[in-house]
Amino acid sequence: MATLPLYIILSSADRDKLQLASMIASVAAVSERPVHVFVSMGAIKVFDKSANGNDRYGDSAFNAELCDKNAPDPIEMFSQGKMLGDMTMWACSMVLDVLGWDESHLVEDLFDGQMGLTKFLSDAEEGQLMSM
């Protein structure tokens, strides 16, 4: 049986949620499951290429522990998923419009481009969708 593609919508800048999302995305991608990530709302600011280290993440219940133990950075894990597996990342065109950003504001070599929600949801009809 063919593996269903996984579609993930990120809307939060919380480290906890992004940590888990990046783990799910990278492990699925290297397990021969296509993964497509759509980054919207507050989550997009985490991918601002001018942001620094852990300061890019919002505070969350588990953030201090993740930082203290030097857990792998979510952005690095998304990058690993792309490098080692079948994964695409898309920036929400609406939030880029709201912020007055274009793709050049975002962490380099991570995004495949920008996309509208309608197209992403339409694509996701053929797979499983989760939102974090």
């Binding site: 783990m23 990278s26 492990v27 290297v30 397990s31 857990a71 792998p72 690993q80 080692l84």
Partner: protein, 76 residues
């Protein structure tokens, strides 16, 4: 005799050991073996599960000296 590479991922959090293993396997010839060392207990089940899913072979796994190890043979 086939090549065996040891990857010391002790101290790396999940899914770091799996990612390190996959990166090493990509550079290896079919038939080569990787032994991953990990202090993450989940590795002992995660790696064999991944092998079964993607078509590589788990040669052996276990615990020794306070860490877990899994030997994987690249099958494709």
């Amino acid at each position: 005799m086939s090549e065996r590479k040891i990857i010391d991922a002790r101290g790396s959090f999940c899914p770091g050991p799996l990612m390190e293993l996959i990166a090493a396997l990509k550079l290896m010839e079919v038939g080569g073996e990787c032994e991953i060392l990990s202090t993450d207990q989940g590795t002992a089940k995660d790696v064999p599960e991944w092998c079964e899913k993607v078509g590589h072979e788990t040669v052996e796994s276990g615990e020794k000296d306070g860490h877990w190890y899994v030997v994987v043979r690249k099958a494709k």
